[in-house]
Subunit: 338 residues, 2 copies
Amino acid sequence: MKSLTPDQVWETGARILLSNAYHLYLRPGPEVIESLGGLHSFMGWQGAILTDSGGFQIISLGGLVAIEDEAVRFRSHIDGSLVTFTPEQSVKTQVALGADIIMCLDQPVQYPAGREEAMDAARRTVLWAKRSREIAVPDHQALFGIVQGSVYTDLREWCVRELCRLDFPGYALGGLSVGEPAEEFCRVMRETAAMLPEDRPRYLMGVGHPLDLVEGAAAGIDMFDCVLPTRNARHGRAYTFTGPLNLKNAIHRHDPLPLEEGCPCYTCSKFSRSYIRHLLQEDEVLGSTLLTIHNLRFFFRLMEKIRSGIRSGRMEFVREEIRRVYPRKGYGETASKH
Amino acid sequence: MKSLTPDQVWETGARILLSNAYHLYLRPGPEVIESLGGLHSFMGWQGAILTDSGGFQIISLGGLVAIEDEAVRFRSHIDGSLVTFTPEQSVKTQVALGADIIMCLDQPVQYPAGREEAMDAARRTVLWAKRSREIAVPDHQALFGIVQGSVYTDLREWCVRELCRLDFPGYALGGLSVGEPAEEFCRVMRETAAMLPEDRPRYLMGVGHPLDLVEGAAAGIDMFDCVLPTRNARHGRAYTFTGPLNLKNAIHRHDPLPLEEGCPCYTCSKFSRSYIRHLLQEDEVLGSTLLTIHNLRFFFRLMEKIRSGIRSGRMEFVREEIRRVYPRKGYGETASKH
């Protein structure tokens, strides 16, 4: 949550944060954080914390040396040293950090992946999940399994079946939004969500766009994580329920309106678009801080809208609204039209 | 106040902010700010605002074309266009911005300056002050005059006499801390402060170091402005009453202490030195934000210490304490030793 204090993050409505175990493993090191009383205390965050295992970063940050069943080996992106990381170490690191939700080390594959490659990665992901499950995790921490299998339905099915035998308290959909066409993303997301047990949280990793949240929730997803609200804020873009705004646009030079009328966030209660545009133009960090505060609040308001749509049986209206304002390919037509 | 929201600034104890009329004149332009309801409303600041005329920036930012009695001409550092700026425009701009304290356009000179050069600049500064005083300024805004004269006591005296005839509601000491030796700085600061009327605020511009605040206050200065607390924060340095800290230092890797025990600031109430060091190492803006919050609070606590030292007649003890922890050349020995 670059540039925001934990109190500012909390005030947006956030109650859970994602931290990356891979980054923290390399720097400052889990022993530093443990000696300071754990991650919550280290960073002054009173909410929940989910730690990602870092499998995705290890593979995507380019320092990968080898993935073997025993361990993954990579060069640290900080000092180039050779690091060996096992699924056991990953769980132990996350336990030491004190995270509330812990993710198994897994092996995602980029799109497109051949069936052989996808099968091998899914097999290794399940093997690592089994070994991760052997590690003692305190009761107040929950270890989630991650489903891989690329776009192959039968591989996803096999993976779900194997993971369910291990009876995880929660399951994640991994290896999505990694370059596949929109239609494939939607199909695999919906199919896989439907395979997972109803009484455990389903977590769609690294997603998404406002419409992904709506469609994901409609498909049974309970949890998401995504850089869009923060990254777009840093690029001068605001989310609103009447559509996106580019605050770098000269049209906002004299614009006295808040980012979104009726939004209860700190930014909208105190600042005009004109001022935010000025901050961006002067490259003042406060500009992206204010946009981040607003965008996070937008996403939490969207999730509240979705929850209330589900409760009241009016999810179709939410879907239509977001589809109109944040259109996105791949979801086909809604079942019921108005 | 890079990266801080106005509420965070307020919470440090700040009740007045300095804005630069020169920068705001070029971008976004006073007409934008005026149309948004003035500077307080534009940036969401409920405290007071002092606007600097920008004379110092015009001269120091390198785009200067000519300084003539009529006007100063310079190239905009933004688009290279030729800008003509008169003392009248400067006051009008600051009135339009809605600043509570407005500074006359003046001509500071760098050290060393020959007597001729210093005299010419002081003469022009007085001429501009006279013209500035002709411009209508609403009752709720106060126009301050600025004393120039480099290190020449008689020029400073002449300048004070001329400005006092114009009966300004406050007076500033300009052209100090511009490269002169510490002894010269101290001498001119003390001499000039003593020349100014006791019933008007005396403002020492662009100063200073903790000991400068103590010695300045002892010499009769009421107001200071300085980048040190914020700039040092951005470089990883914290002020404490037991001395400065460099948070980039590896010694703080496992350091569970707050920046300063007993400090009531947000940073010290929630974060360890270890965490701040980690943020700095990762180049996270939050690191300098947290240090800025603490450093500002330190300076306000120092000023409170000074005020209470003056009230209780124990200013010598404050002086000794700060002299020991933040030594600085130029002030000679304290009158009474302990």
